[in-house]
């Protein structure tokens, strides 16, 4: 599917060199891997796993999300923040 292809291409942007040289494994977008997993702004539990300790949104570089889902996720997190389900910033680590 579209997401899959996009995920493939992302390998390059991974920052760790152009071709993956065997080491490390490609991260798979969790939302592509599990279609039943929906991105919902009300679901602070899932969204919280994509935040840093400081409450910042983790880059897809780290989480391995595909661009599409990262986009949806970002929007959901921002919505969750406006209704105080998620912090804008957490206490100092």
């Amino acid at each position: 599917m579209a997401e899959r292809e996009r995920g493939e291409r992302r390998g390059k942007a991974e920052g760790r060199g152009f071709r993956r040289r065997g080491m490390g494994r490609r991260k798979v977008c969790r939302f592509c891997a599990d279609k039943s997993m929906l991105i919902d702004y009300k679901d602070a539990r899932v969204l919280g796993t994509f935040l840093s300790e400081r409450g910042k949104i983790l880059p897809s570089r780290i989480t391995g999300n595909c661009a599409r889902h990262q986009r949806h996720l970002t929007l959901a997190i921002k919505r969750a923040r406006t209704v105080a389900l998620l912090p804008f910033s957490a206490a100092y680590p």
Binding site: S36, M37, D40, Y41, K42, D43, A44, R45, V46, G48, T49, L51, G55, R79, R81, T82, V83, A84, L85, L86, P87, F88, A90, A91, Y92
Partner: protein
């Protein structure tokens, strides 16, 4: 104008207390209906901890309304919500027509996605909201 599927999550002031919050939720429901909206399910999440201090409050009542209305009516609903001073905040989102209705207490009901998701404190929160002392 075609009507659309929306949902609005409303935060009510903690000082209202359980009965007061219920009453206000009822008023919001009336408000939606008065604007020609058809209210589906109304979910009361009860008093929840806020992720940050909001209006000098640490907790608030969360109520979720699912309804259909026209975009125009939504604007009017939002305008009225802004006027209610016991409504701390709200967020309205358009839902896809085919989206499943929100399962009860989504925060607790979602499929466990890590082991910790399992434990009971679900209603409370997951430690991200440690307040600054």
């Amino acid at each position: 104008m075609p009507d659309r599927r929306y949902e609005t999550l409303v935060l009510l002031h903690a000082d209202l207390g359980e009965p007061g919050a219920k009453e206000l939720a009822e008023r919001v429901k009336k408000l939606i209906e008065d604007q020609g909206g058809i209210v589906g399910q109304v979910q009361e999440w009860g008093l929840r901890d806020l992720a940050y201090v909001l209006a000098k409050q640490r907790r608030a009542f969360y109520v979720l309304f699912e309804y259909r209305s026209t975009p125009k009516a939504l604007l009017e609903i939002e305008r009225n919500l802004k006027l209610m001073d016991r409504v701390l905040r709200f967020v309205s989102v358009r839902q896809a027509e085919n989206a499943p209705p929100t399962p009860p207490r989504p925060v607790a009901a979602r499929r466990p996605e890590r082991e910790e998701s399992e434990f009971e404190g679900a209603a409370e929160f997951e430690g991200l909201n440690e307040e600054v002392p």
